[in-house]
Subunit: 195 residues, 2 copies
DNA sequence: TCTTTATACGGAACGGTGTTCCGTATGTCA
DNA sequence: TGACATACGGAACACCGTTCCGTATAAAGA
């Protein structure tokens, strides 16, 4: 791949991410091209359809969210890492709330995306979940898909009442996974009731 | 109101309903105008914005759904009427699935619509619900808003797996409301356990 | 019945969108 | 250093929602 092509590709992705965040996913392609300092033709060379650009940005952010998991796993105790990643995931879902319609619109460009979403996020979360479970910091009757689905629909709705509310509802849910287990990582007093 | 104006208005509503059902709510205004045998200017005389036309069709179908309630109430036993209306409501929600994004889009033309939706459907359902409750055919700890909300979100999701699945899930929900009560309207054997 | 006039009609025109096309510029490799 | 495959920019196209205005017509008074 030619150097300038690669450079423009990166510039486009960055510009698109910024513009989508500001003006929503309905922002004109011309605006993104301008922000990236690139001609219209160049946009369509790299992303034949408008939806391909959206999908690329989306994929990019899925990666960022998934990649946050191992980092958090190193920086925090298992239970805390899980809790923090979940809130990170809330932010991801919130940012992409405007895409829900597109996802269900039947555009084939987004079919791949759903699969990528699961394939990438599930293992990331599963690792955190298994560590936390092994450390006895969360219950064992919840799996990664449960969390991905529940938290997504939870924050989707709850965001209508503001980001604070969404994070609070999700925190509640996460605390539910800790129910009956040691309340703080440091104090290992076994409070556990109800397997 | 002039006679031709009324005629064109009706033709437009009918054409819009048909076109939206076929091509979705994103269908071009020109297509609707053509189907109604009417000029573009006429469309915008009656519906200053595209969203006003959508809202009008929506209101029309809310009415149809609400008006079905008293009819069913006369034709069937209270519990059965409630069950049938709920499935009628599923069809309504399913048909309008494409509007969910628009509803949440912040367009002021749709703000009124949400209010109308509740103001019209809640009393219709409430009447069925009270009859059924009075006849001892459903539990009394569920109210109209519970049903409207639950069934809407339930069928919204379930329709991804086909209309059969949606109706099945909702039927399950409705049966839940009958739990512990006489299984068939005719046979009044009191099976009831658990108040 | 015939005027009159307020009202409604049709469709060309406008501004803005996604997408295509092609002449021009440029990175890459022998 | 050429030669050429590749990438670039932006004018042009098709289609969209919306506006505008000259024309047609339904309705009310003579």
């Amino acid at each position: 791949m030619r150097a300038d092509a690669q450079r423009n590709m990166d510039a486009l992705l960055e510009a698109a991410m910024a513009v989508f965040a500001t003006s929503g996913v309905d922002a004109p392609v011309r605006e993104i091209a301008a922000k990236a300092g690139v001609g219209l033709g160049t946009v369509y060379r790299h992303f034949p359809q408008r939806s391909d650009l959206i999908a690329a940005v989306f994929r990019h952010e899925i990666d960022a969210c998934a990649d946050a998991a191992p980092v958090l796993a190193v920086e925090h105790e298992p239970g805390e890492a899980l809790a923090r990643w979940t809130l990170r995931y809330v932010d991801f879902v919130a940012a992409k709330r405007g895409l829900a319609p597109a996802l269900h619109s039947g555009d084939p460009a987004f079919d791949t995306l759903r699969a990528y979403f699961e394939q990438r996020l599930r293992p990331a979360l599963q690792a955190l979940l298994e560590s936390a479970a092994a450390a006895g910091e969360v219950r064992t009757d919840v799996d990664a898909d449960d969390i991905l689905g529940a938290v997504a629909s939870l924050s989707m709705h709850a965001f209508d009442r503001g980001p604070k509310h969404a994070r609070r509802m999700v925190s509640l849910f996460v605390d539910g996974m800790r129910y009956g287990l040691s309340p703080h990582p440091k104090s290992k007093r076994a409070v556990r009731r109800k397997t």
